[in-house]
Amino acid sequence: MMKNTLRLLWRNRLAFAGGIVVLSLFAVSWLAPAIAPFDPDKVQVRERLKPPGTAGHVLGTDSLGRDVLSRLIWGSRVSLKVGIVAVGIATLIGLFLGALAGYHGGVTDGVIMRFVDLMLCFPSMFLILAVIAVLEPSIWNVMIVIGLTGWMGVARLVRADLMSLKGRDFALAARAMGAGDTRIILVHLLPNAMGPVLVTATLGVAGAILTESALSFLGLGVQPPTPTWGAMLTEGKDYLQQAWWLSLYPGLAILVTVLSYNLLGEGLREALDPHNREAVPK
């Protein structure tokens, strides 16, 4: 199955390209200290607002003379970290509550799913901003808040899968052999429900990166001087007339990253869909 999935992913060129970009971004943020041409925080007042291409600054400099390319490279660390940790939190909560609801059914299911419906009523931007207003804006709070407001999709998926899986022969066999609820859920049921969860998580990373950049843009996300793509755009806004490059490149970085995660996620969805699996030549 794994091989088939990979082959289908290869056949979907867009998804494959997305995967390559995602992997490269991991490499870039890992290697940031080595490949960034300048220190991202080094202020050089005499070099301020230089257009792209001057004095080794490939993408120009900002209002404090910091190198835009280096800040973009270091900024990829924040996006990646927030995307993965936030989605990790959301997925764990979703798996836990979804499994409880789907496996036990009845009142447990009713209560959990009403809570899911309730959480879906809040425009997530409002909820996130309200929590940030109460707590302090920081990278950790941003990750936690995005995670706490993004688990509902996973919970619904896992619940639906577990409801159908728990009645299947292999689950009944496990129970007949004396396995407890926890063991049945963790060892027998959840592994069979992971495909769609993986798809949702991949798409979730894209959403989390967008949300983080919006929060940082609004000044309520990761705080300066940490370079983040969203915060770089806030600065670009103030220099819209003099320095277009400050507004162009960070947004492009967000666009490419989010697009790649989305293409990869959609490709995975298609590849994991059993309707498409037979179509692959052996």
């Binding site: 009523c121 809040f122 409002f126 909820l127 901003l129 309200a130 919006a214 507004s247 947004g251 967000i254």
Partner: protein, 327 residues
Amino acid sequence: MLKFTAVRLLMMIPTLIGITIVSFTVMHLAPGDPTNYVLDMNPKASQTARARMRELYGLDKPIHVQYWNWLKSLAKMDLGRSFAPDRRLVTEKIVERLPVTLALNVFSMAIILIVSLPLGLVAAVKAGGMFDKSSTVFVFVCFAAPSFWLALLGMYLFGVKLGWLPISGMTSLGFEHMTSWQKFADLSRHLAMPVVISSLGGLAGLSRYLRSNMLEIIRKDFLTTARAKGLSERVVIWKHALRNALIPVITILGLSVPGLVGGSVIMESIYAIPGLGQLFYVAVMSRDYPVVMGGLVMGAVLTLLGNLLADLGYAAVDPRVRDAAFK
């Protein structure tokens, strides 16, 4: 239909109570309490002043009593007074901002609908062709581009470079003295960019959904029947298939309400449009708790109303839904 509406309205009550509980809990996550913020501004505030303030806001009472009192005043549409220097009633502030945000979102939704419908349907009918591929890439790019970035680029291109559109606010100077035709033109020029840009992100959801839904319907038996009895391909697709593909659009539009309302925070603060989103953003920045709490409840209620309208619309066009609700 009347019975369906009544049942659907009753079902909203527990959700409304839930919304108030979540909003109240969120606002009381704070390690300190709101008086800290108000009094920290003023170093001369004494311990007694602080106690008086806590009493004034009822913060000295146990948490469930506080919730109950808040709920009671909420039922009377009283959300307290803003912490901002103007000390105005929160409800008043929200109500005067609401029409702007509603108008923005209704226009955005109209654009999403007008663009997504042909995009999704034509892509499905010509699946795999050039149009299908390019429209897919287009909607994915729109979905991935951060709206605030597009807003900046738009301001640079149409505002600074070309000078076609104003880059902030909702009205020009001297708006009060314009004729109503000029007022309309002025408003349209100010709102054109925010409305178009906030609609771009929503294109992907609806058009992709329509495409896959239409693809599924095209394979259905009743279409084969329609073809078998000799109807032309055009009638089969654009009449029989289309009608069935359009029904779920109502639900998708309803589901897009929270995203649009949430997105208005970003759009309104960039373009300095005096709507609910901007009010909420300013309140968050200045820790104006009563307004934040009111905005949170309001945002959720708007979503709830969006879902209600979608459900009623769906039931109106599809009798199966109406009947299923009572099973």
